[in-house]
């Protein structure tokens, strides 16, 4: 059986590309939704985004610019209208196995206690209950919730629920970690604590992270790279490399001159988009 030369070249290209394939690749992606009123709404337009293996990439942008949509495309929860999304070199056709997703709102199951919440991922994936529970206990301890195994989510504080969500996500060992404004509902002190813990956990996991936030400080403090998305329909406006050394302490890094420099630089970009978005909401309210 003979392959046409072009095909062989193609196969070779994909095979050789595999080890160096970026963790996440979005090419020319447009995503439209149909609103309940029956109108078409474009959330993303012609978006290109590449995230390398082990990279911590933060996405900032004004409200409603399609940041969350980007995550749902990468996770496979939603297909793009136009364009290609691939994760770990494979095109995304459904919900991927190697993906972890921390939601903005509490998405822990309120009818399960902490232990069952954390153990549910492994159990969904076919692990025996005893093994899943043992691993869950380990992760609960790692996020500092040892002793709270039998508590239900409503008995925990917002920060503790977030820790449960983190443990629930990280226990499955995701190679891609998607985070949608995970700490936005927390108070400032808890948030800094959680950010530091996230960096520590990420450091040991080697996962590629896409971290969506509207908080530029948070983005710079955490990420290797900050991507600014335009006011909706969203597309990449600019990309900045954050050359701050690791390990970082989120609480203190904000005072470094380089941090302030980066902040000013990126904020100039972001401000325009925020203003555009703000003007639109004002008009929407007025009309």
């Amino acid at each position: 059986m003979a392959f046409p030369a072009a095909d062989i070249a193609g196969i070779w290209a994909t095979v050789s590309a595999q080890p160096h394939a970026p963790a996440i690749e979005l090419r020319g992606v447009t995503k439209r939704f149909v609103t309940p009123a029956g109108k078409s709404f474009t959330a993303l337009r012609d978006l290109d985004l590449v995230v390398a293996e082990g990279e911590f990439c933060a996405i900032v942008g004004p409200t409603g610019c399609g940041k969350s949509t980007t995550l749902s495309l990468i996770s496979g929860l939603e297909p793009p209208s136009i364009g290609d999304v691939s994760v770990l070199g494979e095109p995304v056709l459904g919900v991927g196995k190697s993906i972890g997703y921390v939601f903005q709102r509490d998405a822990v199951f309120p009818w399960k206690n902490v232990l069952d919440n954390v153990a549910i991922g492994p159990r969904f994936r076919g692990a025996a209950t005893s093994e899943a529970n043992a691993r869950a206990r380990d992760w609960i301890a790692r996020v500092g919730l040892a002793g709270f195994e039998r508590y239900y989510p409503h008995q925990l504080s917002g920060g503790m629920r977030k820790r449960v969500a983190l443990a629930q996500t990280l226990i499955i060992g995701p190679r891609i970690l998607l985070m949608d404004e995970p700490f936005s509902a927390l108070d400032v002190q808890t948030r800094v604590l959680m950010e530091n813990e996230l960096l520590e956990l990420w450091g040991t996991s080697g996962a590629s992270v896409v971290f969506v936030t509207h908080d530029l400080e948070e983005a710079i403090a955490l990420a290797d790279r900050v991507v600014v998305i335009t006011a909706g329909p969203g597309t990449v406006k600019s990309t900045y490399h954050v050359d701050l050394p690791r390990p970082r302490n989120v609480a203190e890094i904000r005072f470094q001159p380089r941090f302030v420099e980066l902040y000013e630089e990126i904020w100039k970009d972001l401000r325009d988009e925020v203003l555009v978005s703000y003007e639109r909401t004002k008009h929407a309210v007025a009309s």
């Binding site: 549910i120 994936r125 239900y152 989510p153």
Partner: protein, 304 residues
């Protein structure tokens, strides 16, 4: 801790009077206790007044010949002492169709069976149609039509088809319970939090696991909300079924009392029914607390 308690003991007995804040709490607690006692006293007074006026009305201004001459005619409206006498008779000598406890047990059995079958069917169909859009769209109009119909009339059909035994009552109770639970389960499935569904899918849940771990528990709070109503409906189904034709049961006691113009008998049976319903209601509440113990107000204490 010990130093503090010593201090408070000292300040309480030897030194200064207790702090003002503590005083207010004590006073507040006392006021609450007083209020509770007042409410209970007023409740008893209300019952005594109503029963007393009723009883007195059947004895005032009577000419000694015709009960119709009294303020309240006990022939039509009954009389508390007569109701009590009727209850005593039933307990001591049994009813026209057998011992009293047997009637209660039969009605309860029909109610509980009808309730259980109705709930299970309602949940199954509710979840099935809630999960399957096509099925819901196809079956929707028929279910609405069946729900619009006053289903008590089905009792006649069931009595004809299933006879005077327990089956016809259970069937009527099932039909009454089913729709209440069905609509709640259906709505509950439709209202599942989208983030929770997405989270479960990301964590690797198959469709079957999704139903079991996310959709059913989420719908449970809707379903349990319907249990109180539907237990009442189950009791209605059993009683109406017995009323339409039966050999045993509280409904039959009421029908018999009505047939012999025994107003006291109807009231006495109603009283029994009310007590049975209140006890059953307490059991349903316990069941509900167990099913949704993860909800904030359902939890009393957690020990680890």
């Amino acid at each position: 801790m010990s130093a503090r308690s010593t201090l408070s003991r000292l300040s309480g007995t030897d030194l200064a009077p207790a702090p003002v804040a503590e005083d207010r709490d004590v006073a507040r607690r006392r006021a609450r206790a007083r209020r509770r006692a007042l409410i209970i006293a007023l409740r008893i007074a209300l019952a005594v007044t109503v029963v007393g006026v009723w009883e007195a009305g059947t004895r005032i201004a009577c000419d000694g010949v015709d009960t119709a001459s009294c303020v309240i005619d006990k022939f039509f409206f009954g009389q508390p002492s007569g109701i009590w006498a009727q209850l005593v008779t039933w307990v001591r000598n049994g009813t026209a169709q057998g011992p009293l406890w047997e009637q209660i047990v039969v009605t309860l059995e029909e109610t509980v069976l009808g309730f259980a079958i109705g709930v299970v069917l309602g949940v199954i169909f509710g979840v099935l149609l809630g999960r399957n859009r096509l099925l819901a769209d196809v079956a929707g109009p028929y279910i609405k039509a069946m729900n619009a119909m006053p289903r008590v009339v089905l009792g006649s059909i069931f009595t004809i088809a299933l006879g005077l035994g327990m089956a016809s009552k259970v069937a009527l109770a099932v039909v009454l319970v089913f729709f209440v639970v069905f609509f709640n389960a259906f709505q509950g499935v439709r209202e599942v939090d989208r983030d929770l569904l997405a989270n479960a899918r990301i964590l690797g849940a198959s469709q079957r696991l999704l139903s079991r771990h996310v959709i059913l528990p989420s719908a449970l709070s809707w379903i349990t909300a319907s249990l109180h109503t539907s237990f009442g409906f189950a009791l209605v189904g059993a009683i109406v079924g017995e009323y339409l034709g039966a050999r045993k049961g509280i409904g039959l006691m009421i029908a018999t009392a009505q047939g012999t113009f025994n107003a006291n008998g109807v009231y006495a049976a109603m009283l029994i029914l009310a007590i049975v319903a209140i006890l059953a209601e307490a059991l349903v509440t316990r069941l509900e607390d167990h099913l949704i113990r993860w909800r904030p107000n359902a939890i009393t204490d957690v020990t680890i």
